[in-house]
Amino acid sequence: MIELRHVSKSYRRGDQRVPVLQDLSLKVRSGEFLALMGPSGSGKSTLLNLIAGIDRPDTGEIIIDGRDITRLTESELASWRSTNVGFIFQFYNLIPVLTAFENVALPLQLISLSEADRKVRVTRALEMVGLLDRMDHTPGELSGGQQQRVAIARALITDPQLIVADEPTGDLDRQSAQDILSMMSRLNRDMGKTILMVTHDPKAAEHAKATVHLEKGQLERDAEHSA
């Protein structure tokens, strides 16, 4: 369960503080696939970043599985992210000099695991996204859709409960986007992952079980969602 209580966030622009999220409260149940929509600057990416623990609110609490992550130190937060959150970015954010296998294996460096177990896990994750035959390819040798599938395998490798995706299909052609969204739906349906997805695309949002609209840093409709 994810719960945001009276969360506010603003950014400094010169001498001014620009509010992005204002007194926002939201509950997302475990196993939810929630789409966050809204115009540019509405604060949806900021909201995603706060829930993923890569940014901190000015005020308010973010409680995830009973733990207020706003109270964690930087190193505690980093450790929490490594086991609890999987990231899918718009531009994939793979390390260009590493192969697909190595990119997927990267988060496992933070976990104590034997080399054999590591290999099994990575192979399984790549198999799940249908890229086992491309495991030795670097991102530059893969298409956009394939790169995003590698990113999904990387997001899943530590078996986190929460997957955050910021415009995961924003850089893809229609067919690849469809494949990625179907894959995310399967992760939610078959593996019970909680997925939060920021998107501009209403068609992409249709794959989610629920949609939240943000407008000028505030939720437009009811903040309670259930699977």
């Binding site: 940014d55 190193s75 992210r81 970015f89 954010n93």
Partner: protein, 385 residues
């Protein structure tokens, strides 16, 4: 292993930039090594000098001779165990660029005072018996292709005219720091020839006395005692240990040595700036990757370690290559300058300094980019293009 792979592959990501930086590093470390070796060569004479030998010369200047009669009086000084003398000849062998020092020596006593010049008994005897005989160091023999029995003609500058010698021995150095680029011949030959040729130089004189003392700790006291003997005479003396005497020569050119040392460190500063620029560009280009790593849960220290590791790797490759290349470069350099530097060896200290400085350059160059990348906020880093 994966992290090491990442480090190595990152290093060659921008091959052109990495290779140019590496080339700069190799050249800088090589230049530092060669310049340090030149400085070391400058001090080599003093390093190989002994504190158990005193040099007594004319108090006014080394240019002025001392009468040979001083020898008997010096020998009487308490603490003096042996005395010999030597005269700078200053001849030219074939061409001025073939410079090497030549000394007219009181042969038997001089060779006894310098056991570091290794000469076979047969060659020693042959030299002692032949008034026109000469002993040359191994470096001279190798440089000019001379062998025992060969004739050598020197064109005198201090003592005009042509002077003929027959090589009777080739000496080696007991240690690698022993000067084997000198030539010795009989003082008696010089003295008699100077008389015969009616040269304007005074006869029965010498340039310096070499005085052996039993107790090096008494060097200052004995030096004072020797100089006191000739105070207020026409030929006052100045005595000092051989080491101090040699350092006096270095001091005459200290400004040059200092300039060389400054240049050697300036070269390192320049490559430090180049390396720092390379690492700054590298880390700026990878801001989004470092932010991604932090988002995945890697610590700021890990990110800083990646940058520092890459910089160190580059520095160590460049440093070790530069240090290794210093040896053939020094050999080529000394081959082209002949016997100008009697001892020109890349010392262990120089090699260690080269590698140490390379590591230091790697660490300093990475410091600012590493701290900046470690501190970058993830959300800002992810937005970086």
């Amino acid at each position: 292993m994966l992290v090491l792979n990442l480090l190595f592959r990152n290093l060659w990501r921008n091959k052109g930039r990495s290779l140019l930086t590496l080339l700069g590093l190799v050249v800088a470390i090589l230049a530092f090594g060669l310049l340090s070796t030149v400085v070391g060569a400058w001090y080599a004479g003093a390093e190989g000098a002994s504190n158990a030998r005193l040099i007594t010369r004319n108090a006014i200047s080394l240019v002025f001779p001392l009468p040979l009669s001083h020898a008997d009086r010096i020998r009487q000084v308490d603490g003096v165990s042996e005395i010999s003398w030597a005269n700078w000849f200053g001849g030219i062998y074939k061409e001025p660029r073939n410079f090497f020092p030549q000394f007219a020596i009181k042969a038997e006593s001089y060779l006894a005072l310098y056991p570091e010049y290794l000469l076979s008994d047969g060659e020693r005897q042959a030299f002692l018996k032949d008034r026109r005989g000469a002993v040359i160091g191994r470096k001279i023999a190798q440089t000019h292709g001379l062998e025992v029995g060969d004739m050598m003609t020197l064109k005198g500058t201090v003592y005009p005219g042509n002077w003929e010698f027959q090589v009777r021995g080739i000496y080696d150095g007991r240690q690698s720091s022993t000067d084997t680029a000198q030539m010795f011949f009989h003082w008696e030959y010089l003295n008699e020839e100077a008389k015969r040729r009616a040269l304007p130089r005074a006869t029965n004189t010498t340039g310096v006395f070499i005085v052996q003392i039993g107790e090096p700790a008494r060097a200052a006291e004995i030096s004072l005692a020797i100089d006191a003997l000739f105070r207020n005479s026409a030929y006052e003396t100045l005595s000092e240990t051989e080491k101090a005497f040699q350092l006096g020569f270095v001091a005459m050119t200290e400004a040059i040595v200092f300039a060389i040392q400054v240049v050697s460190y300036v070269v390192i500063l320049i490559i430090l700036a180049v390396m720092a620029n390379t690492m700054a560009m590298t880390s700026r280009e990878r801001t989004s990757e470092y932010a991604t790593l932090k988002a995945l849960g890697f610590s700021p220290r890990f990110v800083a370690g990646l940058i520092t590791g890459e910089s160190l790797l580059l520095a160590v490759i460049g440093g070790v290559t530069g240090a290794l290349l210093t040896f053939p470069a020094a050999a080529a350099f000394v081959g082209s300058i002949g016997t100008l530097f009697p001892v020109f060896e890349v010392s262990r200290d120089t090699t260690l300094a080269q590698i140490g400085l390379a590591v230091l350059v790697g660490l300093i160059a990475a410091a600012v980019p590493a701290v900046r990348s470690a501190r970058i906020r993830i959300v800002e880093g992810l937005r970086a293009v």
